[in-house]
Symmetry: C2
């Protein structure tokens, strides 16, 4: 039972059987394989890899990413920067557009010794950074966010604002590091060809912006791109110096539908218990509702809708066709996707423990104060995660 | 500014202006009005009121509910029971079907002095309760869950299982308290007539079950029903002894669409800051993404889709037609619901602070470690909430 050759997810059963439900379980063998595969891919592409810590907000996970070769991390909140810096991780990219109200927190971190990089995508924000930096004698390290795919923030790679922002920062005495982009629309892909196109587009548009900055005489040592789908799909990254990705470390059903992982790669599941049935409807009721799974229904508009999650045995083996089809706060309704299973109570009797693969690992993890990490020796270790801002 | 006559939400601006974003803000004047209105309604109907603490998991809120006249509380997790019991609240109904694996926690709470009531809706679960209770010399207080509207758990009010479960519990030495139901399908209503129908149905079916138990010679002192919509819509509750409701304390956009509150009654909002723009798309980007709002899109299938939330000024005044139309983890996209606002950056410049009314107060609150409570004197008090299991 403690054999390292045991199937991932099956090796920790003795210890896992004592874990209360609902709980967020990490299969560490799968997680480590995901980390190693991505790092190796990045190494072969000749780029630095800066994983996004927002997926787990969990120190042991991030330490495993760094041990494998990651150089610095990406964060989505100042709190993540503060927490990971306190744990000794100093190379931090805060990858959400800097607003004036958070500059004092960024300054405080830098004064403590953090190499905190910030981003901007507007002249107004760049001016605020310069004004604040000058007032406090701080030369912030700044990346300009590029809109490579129209999905969210960023300046146009071929627009005037790019050069104006670069000029404001550089002339204002800030340290212009370069450009960064995130092709979030890659999550909408579901075939290799569309994914290949968006991957090349993210690279091309970001490198184009970098080239324009350099031609204007502005510094641009860093060209940072990334999302889990495009990082995995990338086959060459000419002109790119750094890649970022987050959810690859655990994967989820949305990534499965995008086509960048198999169900057997998903390292996060929610352990749950059957608490009742509605036999004539073919429902088993479990204690994983939306509070445990999150309200994320990311697979709803994809080619395979997994409801609130794919049902697996307690050992982690998917039970094809069974999903959480509905969820209230602390109730999940497990049913067969097609047709009513009139023997649902025989299949999943009261007290049966199941594991549920989530739509979105970032959202599901955020519902839990900690992960229950199933180690290679079969033991379960509690890995705290933090939340809030 | 400290005048108690100031508009709700406007009175705490000086203090609120120092609160970081994103934050979950409670307008305590609105909250207290919601509490008083519901308690007064329950008093006039002659029933006990047992609010559901799952909405806020926050002691000051629950203390305000009890101060107004609530008798005991409802909880959705054993952790809520433990936390509120530790704070001195002893009368607790755990309103999720009891599973064998949680009986030891329930026993521990009762041994400490908690009057913890549990529920069941199956012979298998009732037998497990009896077996465990007998083995530990504990006579658990148990309610039978009734399925009054087909939306989730519960036994049929006119089926054989009801009496069988009652017999198992009573003959097994447990204290059969009675019946309870939750008409969760009331959330699907959007007109007074359908709401009136489901309200009467919840009462009628639960009372029917109680009558059947009594005719079979079984005790049934408690007849407990409730949901926020049906509690508000109830005009007479013959045969009912207790009502439960949760979200009424803060309200939200889903409840607004159901027709049981106005926007001016919603006491929860998320404070956020504008961090950027995409002018040609009419987007302002704010720092309230789905991590701050939750992924709940409860208004999507209702008559008015508010996206991820209704935009208000920092003072809490709704800005008609502007919603969070899209959300990533830490980014929200604010846009006009109809047509592109080409002057979005003039309307909401960088650094503008806004408040966002949420779809679902239970889900949005769960994303935050604390509420920032704006008191009547204009000061802001931090009210911690807990999460996890």
């Amino acid at each position: 039972m403690n054999s390292p050759q045991a199937l991932p997810g099956g090796s920790g059963l003795t210890a896992l059987s004592t874990v209360q439900t609902p709980s967020a379980v990490i299969d560490t063998a799968r997680m480590q394989a995901n980390i190693d595969r991505m790092q190796s891919h990045m190494n072969s592409l000749g780029v630095r890899f800066r994983p996004h810590a927002k997926t787990t907000k969990c120190l042991p996970v991030v330490q495993a990413q760094i041990a494998a070769g990651a150089q610095g991390i990406t964060v989505s909140t100042i709190k993540e920067a503060e927490q990971f810096f306190a744990a000794g991780i100093t190379d931090l990219l805060y990858a959400v557009g800097m607003q004036p109200g958070k500059l004092s927190q960024a300054l405080a971190l830098r004064r403590k010794g953090a190499s905190l990089q910030i981003i901007t995508d507007s002249i107004a924000s760049a001016n605020a950074i310069v004004d604040f930096g000058r007032a406090h004698g701080e030369s912030f390290e700044v990346l300009i966010e590029i809109d490579a795919d129209g999905h969210r923030s960023g300046v146009q790679p071929d627009g005037d604002v790019l050069l104006q922002v670069g000029r404001v920062l550089h002339d204002g005495g800030m340290r212009l590091l370069g450009v960064m982009a995130h092709a979030g629309s890659s999550y909408d892909c579901d075939d290799p060809e569309s994914l290949r196109r968006i991957t090349e587009q993210e690279r091309r548009e970001t490198v184009r912006a970098a080239d324009r900055l350099r031609r204007a005489g502005l510094p641009c040592p860093v060209v940072s791109i990334g999302s889990t789908p495009t990082a995995i799909a990338a086959q060459s990254l000419d002109g790119v110096t750094e890649v970022r990705a987050g959810v690859y470390v655990l994967f989820d059903l949305v990534m499965h539908n995008v086509g960048v992982c198999g169900l057997q790669d998903i390292a996060l599941s929610v352990l749950t218990t059957v608490i009742g049935h509605q036999n004539e409807k073919g429902w088993a009721i479990v204690d994983a509702g939306w509070m445990a799974m999150s309200r994320d229904r990311g697979t709803q508009k994809q080619k395979h809708d997994f409801g609130y999650g794919q049902i697996c045995t307690e050992e982690g083996v998917p039970i094809t066709g069974y999903v959480i089809s509905g969820a209230n706060q602390e109730h999940g309704i497990v049913s067969r996707a097609s047709g009513i299973d009139m023997k649902i109570a025989d299949r999943f009797p009261l007290g049966t423990r199941l594991r549920v693969l989530p739509n979105h690992a970032c959202a599901t993890g955020a519902q839990h104060p900690q992960y229950e990490a199933v180690l290679a020796n079969g033991e379960v270790e509690t890995w705290p995660r933090f939340y809030g801002w």
